[in-house]
């Protein structure tokens, strides 16, 4: 066997770069360990959410009762006016996507070593996330207390509607809540100067998770609320 291929100079682009990376010794990706681990974890998590959504689509086909109309259930009226369909979900989606923007800015600030800006941007992201969870709590309590939706049944039609709703949005809500805690922890350590020597890749790693949670929400939004 010939001498090991050691990459000289900068990483190549495209297929050549891919082959170079995978044929290299020591590491296959030019990323820190934590980032590689986060990527693989997110692929695994993608399988979880895919299974949930496939299960949802399947149950929606097999249930014998009609599926409730989401635009009527998820409608909200302001000041006694006409109920606006899906308005709360639209606001929640907007907030979550905005939080992705602040997260991206935080990553950038981290790499520019502007620690305090990064800190405040992460905090803003966490605040957006927390308000998303808050609105979800509002949505759940409205459905449970006012409309009588339960996991095992609801007044509108197929009982699976409530089952899927609580399971999938609950699971996603747990992901957002965990993300908020994770972000606050990272923000705290950024401020304390824990990463001054180690580098600020951790912000990007946390950001990966956060963008993933947002992306999953887009799919839940499309499949559950719009379809």
């Amino acid at each position: 066997m010939s001498e090991a291929i050691t990459s000289g100079g900068g990483p190549e682009e495209g297929v050549t770069g891919l082959v170079d990376d995978w044929a290299a010794d020591r590491q296959a990706y030019h990323v820190p360990w934590g980032k590689a681990m986060m990527w693989i974890f997110l692929v695994s998590d993608t399988f979880i959410f895919s299974c949930f959504l496939v299960g949802y689509l399947n149950v929606r086909l097999t249930t014998t009762e009609p599926w409730p109309s989401q635009s009527d259930i998820f409608a909200l009226s302001f000041g006694g006016g006409e109920p606006i369909p899906l308005i709360l979900i639209a606001i929640m989606t907007f907030i979550l996507i905005t939080s992705s923007g602040t997260m991206a800015l935080a990553v950038n600030m981290g790499y520019r070593k502007e620690k305090m800006k990064a800190f405040w941007l992460i905090c803003a992201t966490a605040a957006f996330g927390a308000s998303f969870v808050g609105m979800q709590v509002f949505e759940w309590s409205k459905l449970i207390l006012e409309e009588g939706v339960r996991p095992w049944g609801n007044p509108f039609g197929a009982p699976q509607f409530g089952s899927i709703f609580f399971m999938v949005t609950g699971f996603h809500g747990l992901h957002v809540s965990a993300g908020v805690i994770y972000l606050l922890w990272v923000a705290f350590r950024v401020k304390r100067g824990y990463y001054d020597d180690k580098g600020f890749e951790i912000i990007e790693i946390a950001g990966l998770y956060w963008h993933f949670v947002d992306l999953v929400w887009v799919f839940i939004f499309a499949f559950f609320y719009l379809l």
Binding site: A4, M37, I40, S44, V59, W152, P159, Q160
Partner: protein
């Protein structure tokens, strides 16, 4: 991307050297201690599974003799035996045990990339085992719905353990998945990102390749099990109807409506089929290394072997519905899944050919590990060929749910991986403990196990052809089943009791040799791969002393012409290889 390449990742590794007995052996972050903890716990649950199997074999072989085995207990024993062996023994042992021990050593790393996460993994695994074992002690006992846990049957009154047992089983599985994910992320990232200098992916021993791809399968297949476990827990605890259709139980309609039991089967087997290869791929890898070392030959077709592992891993995600031919599906789906199932036999057969060609004209040393490795080739061909029968829809329909299926999967994913486990444990025992085991006792153990398992499973194929259904507590008087079937069942039970008892040989050997075995040479088999080149035997925390090794060759340089010895370790540079021709002529 503002990423600065690492000067030397060796410095990034923060070693937490233990300061006390508790830190060294209990809350240890050393991958080798974690591996032994994982392996020991897996073997412990495996013994529970083995004893359960002997108990229900008693009922089948000698009906009504053991009076405490009533139908409920029988179904619970069958269920728990299946789940324990597949998930808690084999998956945990191969990934948590061998994965933890071998990956850092074979990659020339000091430890896993995140040792703390690795330690959490083993403790969460312990938690899942405790929850699993707790189900034996709750009211109603463990679940008796069969290891596939098919709803609605599992959740209905009349199935033992339908109240607490199944809940604990599902929670235990979910906890196990958390443990497997934490460990699995570590294994994958260690292989990808923490190899030593000169060690390219295509120089890794096949053991690492097998465990690496199996871990990826675990990370992508366990989510389906997690989701089905969550949905089923909702069905049981919250009264939802994901998997429960409208059911009338003893004249009363249940509160369920509109669920799909078939959905559970799809989710379960989307996990369940890759699970077969999660167990098989590490076994393929380990046995390749054992065969190559003891045949004193490089593994035949290394690149083919690697690509076969990857191909099997990929294909394993699109064959799952061959477990569901009798559940009812569109004929075109059956056609599709039969085709993919037969295609997956191609890379598998390729591996078998390569093992045999590795032995071909090798300088075979018939050491105890080699016995088990060659035994594996027999049992695996055997179980693999019956798999081709069952992969075809028309042949599967009459054989489904008969003892033929039991015989098939026990040959291919019971006996075969277990033989590899023994081969690997005997092979690496000197490295792990620093002592040699008793060779004669190990060989006796092999013959008892190998011949004994054939005595168990060969007759089962015949029972299957007779149409004897699996999972039945008693056959009763059925016209199409001749009375001789009972004689066969008795024979099988006697053989099973014999095989079960002879496993004591292994445990006696391992424990006795730990204390009284002769001190082992650091590299008793003359192996080339990196784990045999550690400065200490057994390797100490940190594995490599002051400097990490550098690798100059693949792991299979055996009987190289011109070299003085019949193996060249991976970390020996080209110009330092002792030459056999030095004294006579200049090459």
């Amino acid at each position: 991307m503002a990423y600065v390449p690492l000067a030397d990742q060796d410095h990034e590794m923060e070693m937490h050297h233990p300061h006390s007995f508790v830190e060294k052996y209990v809350w240890s972050q050393d991958h080798k201690v974690i591996a032994i903890q994982y392996g020991g716990l897996a073997v412990f649950t495996g013994i529970v599974g083995l004893v359960l199997s002997l108990l229900f074999r008693m009922q089948l072989g000698f009906p009504e003799t053991a009076t405490f085995i009533d139908p409920s207990f029988y179904y619970q024993a069958v269920t728990m035996h299946g789940m324990i062996m597949v998930v808690y023994l084999l998956t945990a042992l191969f990934l948590g045990g061998f994965g933890n021990y071998m990956i850092p050593l074979m990659c020339g790393a000091r430890d896993m990339v995140f040792p703390f996460l690795n330690m959490l993994s083993v403790w969460v695994f312990l938690l899942s085992v405790i929850i699993l074992m707790a189900s034996f002690f709750v009211s109603g006992g463990p679940t008796g719905g069969g290891w596939t846990l098919y709803p609605p049957q599992t959740n209905l009154a009349g199935t033992p353990g339908h109240d607490m047992g199944i809940v604990l089983m599902l929670i235990s599985l979910a906890v196990f998945i958390v443990a497997a994910t934490m460990g699995g992320l570590n294994y994958v990232v260690t292989v990808l990102q923490y190899r030593c200098r000169g060690l390219t992916m295509m120089r890794l021993p096949l053991t690492v390749w097998g465990i690496f791809v199996a871990t990826l399968l675990a990370l992508f297949a366990f989510p389906a099990l997690l989701v089905s476990a969550i949905m089923m827990l909702f069905d049981i605890l919250l009264g939802t109807s994901f998997f429960m259709p409208a059911i009338i139980e003893t004249g009363t309609p249940l509160d369920h409506n509109g669920g799909s039991p078939i959905l559970f089967q799809h989710l379960f087997w989307f996990f369940g089929h890759p699970e077969v290869y999660i167990v098989a791929l590490p076994a393929f890898g380990l046995v390749s290394d054992v065969l190559s070392v003891h045949a004193r030959k490089n593994i035949f077709g290394y690149r083919m072997m690697v690509w076969a592992i990857i191909a099997i891993g990929g294909l394993s995600f699109i064959v799952w519905a061959h477990h569901m031919y009798v559940s009812g599906m569109h004929p075109y789906f059956g056609f599709f899944f039969a085709t993919t199932t037969l295609i997956i036999a191609v890379p598998t057969a390729l591996k078998v050919y390569n093992w045999i060609l590795t032995l071909w004209e090798g300088d075979i040393r018939l050491n105890a590990p080699m016995y088990f490795a060659i035994g594996f080739i027999f049992t695996f061909i055997h179980g693999g060929i019956t798999g081709l029968f069952l992969g075809n829809v028309v042949i599967d329909l009459p054989l489904s749910d008969s003892y033929f299926v039991v015989a098939h999967f026990h040959m291919v994913m019971g006996v075969s991986p277990v033989l590899v486990v023994f081969a690997a444990l005997y092979h690496w025992y000197p490295k792990i403990t620093g002592r040699m085991f008793h060779e004669g006792m190990a060989k006796l153990h092999f013959w008892c196990t190998f011949l004994g398992t054939y005595a168990i499973y060969l007759p089962m194929h015949y029972l299957g052809f007779l149409g004897v259904p699996r999972r039945y507590y008693a056959l009763g008087t059925t016209d199409f089943i001749p009375a001789s079937a009972q004689d066969l069942n008795t024979t099988i039970t006697v053989a099973a009791l014999f095989v079960g008892a002879t496993q004591l040989l292994f445990f006696i050997n391992v424990i006795w040799s730990l204390r009284y075995g002769p001190k082992a040479d650091p590299n008793p088999w003359g192996a080339a791969s990196l784990e045999w080149q550690t400065p200490d035997t057994p390797p100490i925390h940190g594995n490599w002393g002051d400097t990490l090794p550098t690798v100059y060759r693949w792991a299979y340089d055996y009987s190289v012409p011109g070299a003085k010895e019949d193996f060249i370790p991976q970390n020996v540079p080209e110009n330092e290889v002792p030459s056999s021709a030095e004294s006579s002529e200049n090459t």
